[in-house]
């Protein structure tokens, strides 16, 4: 039965990969051609990808007999799920299909990272050490999944903002703009306000993620904070977004500067996730030796 489930999980993964890849291409085609059919296909494929992504996660849960949040592959799977689900919510809630052209490439690149850097033995369900057997890790990773997903959306919005702004400041005529790709983007103020809303949603979740991580560490090792590089970089990410919120609310940092901060913030998210494990491995032996990512 397990073999059958594993085959099903592998199939779900590849269906998800195909669907997300095609959806990215269709989003690009949609903003390039303005053909509604392309846009509809892009959204449908994203939904198909999300269903397959959900199936892969549920199947992994059944196979492993635990929440699928305990190694790099499993977390990346949930990270992609977080990005896509938050994206689809934003697309439907704010009718912002153009954002897909900037967000789906993030999901695609994460999946490519899995394909290119992880062997089959790293992707199968593995046993976990006693320290990871805690309900707090589930809260910790689920909050990370949604907050990181939302930060990816704000990153996409930041790129959209800067592209639209550069086109406008380059003095393009209204007519050429209307015919161009950028015409698919909402106005600058809407992008900026939405980006703030998304960060306003994600920031408390990132805080909860750090707190649940501290609670877990305290139960497991008796130390709620040890200045481990992973902890420290999550704090740095938190500070960057806290600075963004303060600068925006107190000094009216909107528009271009805010857009750059969303990009900078997401770079910190990625460094916290990938950079610490791959650039500072000597200091985070837990993540390297066990191939475990503690978010």
């Amino acid at each position: 039965m397990n073999q059958g489930l594993q085959n099903l999980e592998t199939s779900s993964f590849y269906i998800m990969l195909m669907a997300y890849t095609l959806s990215m291409l269709f989003y690009w085609a949609w903003i390039g051609t303005k053909k509604d059919l392309m846009g509809r296909f892009a959204t449908y494929l994203t939904i198909v990808g999300l269903v397959a992504n959900t199936a892969a996660i549920i199947l992994r849960m059944i196979i492993a007999g635990r929440p699928p949040l305990s190694n790099a592959y499993e977390f990346l799977l949930t990270f992609v799920w977080g990005i896509t689900s938050v994206y689809l919510f934003v697309e439907f809630r704010y009718k912002l299909k153009a954002l897909g052209a900037f967000v789906m490439p993030i999901s695609f690149m994460i999946l490519m990272f899995i394909i290119m850097s992880m062997g089959a033995e790293e992707r199968i369900a593995q046993s976990i050490p006693p320290a990871l057997k805690s309900k707090w890790i589930t809260f910790h990773v689920v909050t990370a999944m949604f907050s990181y997903g939302a930060f990816a959306i704000s990153f996409g919005l930041g790129i959209m903002y800067l592209l639209k702004l550069s086109r406008e400041t380059n003095g393009k005529t209204a007519k050429s703009q209307a015919q161009g790709i950028i015409s698919r983007f909402p106005d600058l103020e809407t992008i900026d306000e939405l980006s703030y809303k998304v960060i306003g949603f994600a920031f408390p979740l990132l805080t909860l993620c750090i707190i649940t991580g501290a609670i877990w560490a305290n139960y497991a090792w008796g130390t709620y904070w040890s200045w481990d590089p992973k902890e420290t970089w999550s704090l740095i990410t938190w500070i960057i977004y806290a600075a963004y919120l303060h600068a925006r609310l107190m000094y009216g940092w909107k528009g271009k500067r805010a857009a750059w901060m969303t990009i900078f913030g997401f770079a910190a998210v990625l460094f916290t996730f990938f950079g610490v494990n791959y650039f500072l491995p000597g200091l985070h032996s837990y993540a390297v030796s066990q191939n475990i990512l503690i978010v």
Binding site: P130, F201, M250, G282, L283
Partner: protein
């Protein structure tokens, strides 16, 4: 002189109440913390920290989070947050609990605003009734033939920012309590032994509590599929010779007694042996891989367990015996369950069975409760700030020649206006529908 003194105090106050200072300090904390991730830190990687060039060690780069610079930054940030919070308290209090209706139209929020025409009393009743039904607390006042009102909804949202800022100070207080009080240590007792808490191998602080710990059993359990389940220690607290508490702990499931918490940190296999030395029976527990040794009294023989087979049905031990400071063992071999061997003609050794060694991290941290309080406040503050936004609606009704007049009504929601327009439009629509219904 007094004026000059007051001027200095005011300057210092202004300096510390600056949001710019807070942002700069946050940036510096992030920068210094980031640098600390590049250098091996003594608390995480003592060997790596020692290997770093002496210059960096002297400059404190290998203990950056305990450095004076880092503590100074955190201290300044706390002062900044406290001063900012004191400064903002009164304003927030007034914005929440002492709202006054506007005196004239210019005081009505103008970014989100609408004008409604109608008769004085029906309009007033419609507005007040609708706002109250939508969860607003309404305060109104009459000025001759005119009237004005102010209404507030989700007013605790105003406090979110203040609470989250204060929470940071609470977190720092918790960390200071944890650093300056309590203790941290490690012990690795074997099953069947009783050890006093004071025998702890301390890395910080001193032990004030006076009780013993008895280890009934220490197990490394596996699941049916061969995966490790967890390490379990059945342990008891002994106070004045009496067992006062008994509990099985495992990783992620610690035991706390009198503020001292026992965390299951590691496990090592051990062997239970009996040494027969001149008709004296001595129980001995040896740890796997030479984790400890036994020196028979009156001899210079040292016995270690080189390897232990932990199978409960067929336990066995590879042993080595050293004499004095000799590098090579003078005797080595395997001993099976129940088997008795002779050790250099000095004593006899019998393997009785397996015995686990449990690695216990033991800690007293009076700051932990304060830390969780700080975390709860931080979350509460952020939830109030981002998910419980205060909305204030106010308006002024100016009467015309008869009982008719015009109501200027506006709304604000702190510094965030996104989504407010829609909420305001719904309110206006509701007021109009209500008036039409009344007609």
């Amino acid at each position: 002189m007094k004026e000059q003194h007051e001027g200095i105090v005011e300057d210092i106050w202004r300096f510390f109440s600056s949001m710019k200072l807070g942002l700069i300090l946050l940036g510096l904390v992030a920068l210094v913390a980031g640098i600390g991730t590049v250098f091996p830190q003594v608390n995480l990687d003592p060997q790596g920290a020692k290997a770093v060039s002496e210059l960096w060690q002297t400059l404190g780069f290998t203990n950056i989070y305990g450095s004076t610079l880092f503590r100074l930054l955190m201290g300044l940030l706390c002062i900044n947050l406290i001063v900012c919070s004191i400064q903002r308290f009164q304003g927030i209090y007034h914005q929440t609990f002492a709202l006054k209706p506007p005196e004239n139209i210019t005081s009505v929020p103008n970014k989100i605003q609408a004008k409604l025409k109608g008769e004085r009393e029906p309009l007033k009743n419609s507005v007040q009734d609708l706002l109250q039904r939508n969860g607003f607390k309404v305060t109104s006042q009459e000025i001759d033939k005119d009237w004005s009102f102010i209404a507030i909804k989700r007013r605790l949202g105003n406090w979110g920012s203040l609470i989250s800022h204060i929470s940071f100070v609470v977190l720092v207080i918790g960390a200071i309590l944890g650093t300056t009080m309590g203790f941290k240590g490690f012990m690795m007792p074997s099953a069947g032994t009783t050890v006093p808490l004071s025998s702890l191998n301390l890395s910080k602080g001193t032990v004030k509590q006076d009780f013993d710990v008895h280890i009934y059993s220490a197990e490394d359990r596996f699941l049916e599929n061969g995966d490790r389940d967890n390490w379990y220690t059945d342990m008891a607290i002994i106070e004045n010779g009496q067992e006062v508490l008994r509990q099985t702990i495992s990783v992620n499931h610690p035991l706390t007694y009198q503020g001292v918490t026992f965390y299951q940190a590691s496990f090592a296999n051990g062997a239970r042996l009996t040494v027969d030395l001149k008709d004296q029976k001595i129980p001995v527990v040896l740890q796997d891989h030479g984790g400890n040794y036994f020196q028979a009294p009156g001899t210079d023989l040292y016995l270690i367990a080189a390897a232990i087979k932990s199978d409960p049905k067929e336990p066995a031990m590879l042993y080595q015996v050293y004499r004095g400071t000799g590098v090579d063992p003078v005797q080595k071999g395997q001993i099976n369950l129940g088997q008795t061997i002779d050790v250099q003609g000095e004593y006899k050794l019998t393997l009785e069975g397996n015995a686990g060694f449990t690695g216990l991290q033991v800690k007293e941290d009076p700051g932990v409760t304060v830390i969780w309080l700080g975390c709860a406040l931080l979350l509460l503050g952020l939830i109030l700030s981002f998910y419980w936004r205060t909305v204030v609606v106010s308006g002024v009704f100016k009467s015309g020649q008869d009982s008719n007049g015009e109501l200027t009504i506006g709304a604000r929601a702190g510094k965030v206006t996104g989504g407010l327009q829609q909420e305001f439009d719904r309110l206006i629509q509701g007021i109009q529908s209500k008036r039409e219904g009344a007609l």
